[in-house]
């Protein structure tokens, strides 16, 4: 242990306030926030004689039809906001980003946003209709659609209201989950929408596609036809299993990279038209008022974004030492090329290692070691995508967009670490 402590002094510091070259990640016994890093503690443990644990002395339960997680991980929960008593079906729940690793969100922890609750759909009675400006209106059953060739892609999904509290004037107390938990990532399997549109025969005047869900709100959104013919899917599977009810079972539209609401769940109708339908959720909601009081509409791709998920808000660093700083990054316009991390509020930056795949419109996972010596710090991450878009600071984003909008926040998140090790949301 003494050796290890000594080797810390030889670590190559790559930016101010303790950031260490990412190449050291593989060689170091690092810790995540909230967990003990201290070599002294490890040393104490190591001095105890190890015994065979009790679970190695008795057989456990056998195989089961449907798996469940360890009872020791049940603290990982989505958190739902205060449900509105007059309207319990409306609302959202957020993914526990600070507990997750890798890039794929387990289906049970994928964030939710519903406008009239989760419908209980019998797939044998569900229909998907394509009508409007097509040569031949068509209706498909679920069983029909299962017979089509499909594609599988890993994509993030982010509610455009995610991180919206950061538009506010004061930095509210919060965690990675409570501030940013309306983003998740899954492998989506489905039929390219273009396949089904080609089968119906798109009329040349058509410019827009209206998608409608079968929930009690009949959620409707208009998608520009050029996007609909590009990479949009009618998704039937999520991480290999049928799309979960909360995510649109038996089928949802999936518009990669774009604000979550447009990936209409419980998809039941696709209608082609010259103009957008101007649904309530593309006029009254999901639009951003600019300082000149005009409001941006159909702002579909989500911005280049990242955040540190550990250490993050409401965690505590228990002792000085080397921590692994990790987080997620994504862009609605491409793949993630680079993530930089700062420990001094953006004065100096170091490249984090991207340890995951770097695919288009998917989450990427980054990591970098950081030595906390007990001083105060402000941890930030900054993503750059494959098209050269760089995540802006919060103040640069507000200087550009104003702060009358409520959606599409993608500025840099700052987590302050106090001298006592408490981590909290700050504006820096």
């Amino acid at each position: 242990m003494t050796d290890k402590t000594n080797s810390l002094e030889k670590l190559e510091h790559v930016a101010g306030n303790g950031l260490i070259n990412r190449r050291h990640l593989l060689g170091l016994g690092l810790s995540s926030a909230g967990m003990a890093v201290a070599s002294s503690v490890l040393a104490a443990d190591n001095s105890l004689p190890l015994e065979i644990p009790r679970w190695s002395r008795q057989p456990g339960p056998g195989a089961s039809g449907y798996g469940s997680r360890s009872s020791h991980t049940e603290y990982m929960q989505r958190t739902a906001g205060n449900p509105n008593p007059i309207y319990p079906g409306g609302g959202s729940s957020r993914s526990p980003l600070q507990h997750l690793q890798g890039t794929i969100t387990p289906n049970s922890l994928h964030f939710e946003r519903h406008h009239a609750g989760v419908p209980d759909i019998d797939p044998s009675l569900h229909k998907l209709v394509i009508n409007g400006l097509v040569k031949q209106p068509l209706v498909f059953s679920y069983e029909d659609l299962l017979k089509y060739p499909m594609v599988s892609k890993i994509y993030f999904l982010e509610c455009s209201g995610n991180s919206g509290s950061l538009w506010g004037a004061n930095a509210a107390d919060g965690s990675a989950q409570s501030i940013h938990g309306l983003v998740s990532c899954a492998e989506w399997t489905g039929i390219p929408l273009s396949t089904l549109l080609d089968e119906a025969g798109v009329e040349p005047q058509a410019q827009w596609v209206s998608a409608v869900g079968a929930d009690a709100a009949s959620m409707g959104r208009s998608v520009p036809l050029n996007r609909a013919m590009d990479d949009v899917l009618v998704a039937l599977f999520q991480n290999g299993e049928p799309v979960r009810p909360e995510q649109g079972y038996p089928m949802r539209l999936f518009v990669p990279g774009c604000e979550g609401n447009i990936s209409v769940k419980w998809l039941t109708q696709i209608k082609l038209s010259r103009e957008p339908s101007q649904f309530r959720d593309e006029t009254s909601k999901y639009t951003d008022t600019r300082p000149d009081r005009l409001s941006a509409q159909f702002t579909l791709p989500m911005g280049t974004k990242s955040l540190i998920t550990s250490p993050s808000g409401q965690m505590a660093l228990e002792r000085q030492g080397v921590y692994q700083v990790t987080g997620i990054a994504w862009s609605g316009r491409g793949s993630i090329r680079r993530v930089e991390v700062s420990a001094d509020g953006g004065q100096t930056w170091a490249d984090a290692r991207i340890e995951s795949h770097q695919s288009e419109k998917a989450l990427a996972r980054f990591r970098i070691p950081w030595q906390w010596s007990g001083g105060s710090a402000v941890l930030q991450s900054r993503a750059t995508d494959s098209r050269g878009n760089v995540q802006p600071s919060r103040s640069a984003l507000i200087a550009e967009k104003g702060s009358l909008g409520r959606y599409h926040f993608h500025g840099i998140q700052s987590w302050s670490v106090s001298t006592s090790g408490e981590v909290s949301n700050v504006y820096a």
């Binding site: 089968e199 709100a217 009949s218 996007r227 957008p276 101007q278 006029t283 009081r293 005009l294 509409q297």
Partner: protein, 176 residues
């Protein structure tokens, strides 16, 4: 229920066999349907008025619908019980953060009809008749001072209603 599930699973199995057998051809399994068969299914009322059903109503008639079916959540005069349920007032050019409602923000009157018919009342969506939707749409527009209480709202007149913030939006759908 169980039997249905097994039948469905069997179908999925068959589906894969069918697909392998015809992998050289395009799969085309949509069943043709006519627009008239979709009349009761397609609820979309677009900004150009397409999809508006027959019928009409005035705000005078809509007051009673509002009081019995909407007021519990939107309160008297549509002032709302929270930001989300406020249906009246606001001014996009007021100082500070403007209050955005049907009256101050929505660019099209068609959206009121479309949304109320599909999603309201929130505790019993799609329970109003088309006539009641015309009536209560007229009432919400009247509460905002956009039309008078006698205007007969129908598929012709509704699209002619000019909303105060009609020119307040910028379409960014083709922005890079």
């Amino acid at each position: 229920m169980h039997r249905k599930l097994i039948r469905l699973l069997a179908l999925i199995g068959i589906a894969q066999i069918v697909f392998i057998a015809s992998s050289q051809e395009t799969v085309r399994l949509g069943t043709p349907i006519s627009e008239s068969q979709l009349e009761g299914f397609d609820l979309i009322v677009a900004a150009d008025g397409s999809g508006l059903p027959a019928g009409s109503g005035t705000a005078l008639q809509g007051k009673a619908v509002f009081e019995s079916r909407c007021q519990a959540c939107h309160s008297a005069n549509g002032e709302g019980t929270s930001g989300n349920t406020r249906l009246v007032g606001g001014d996009m050019h007021s100082a500070g953060n403007p209050i955005r409602t049907v009256g101050s923000y929505w660019p099209y009157a068609s959206t009121v009809f479309d949304y109320v018919r599909r999603a309201m009342p929130a505790d019993a969506p799609k329970s109003l008749s088309d006539i009641e939707v015309y009536q209560v749409t007229a009432y919400v527009l009247y509460l905002n001072g956009i039309i008078d209480q006698y205007l007969i709202l129908n598929s012709e007149t509704l699209t002619q209603v000019k909303m105060p913030n009609r020119d307040g939006f910028i379409d960014e759908s083709q922005a890079q």
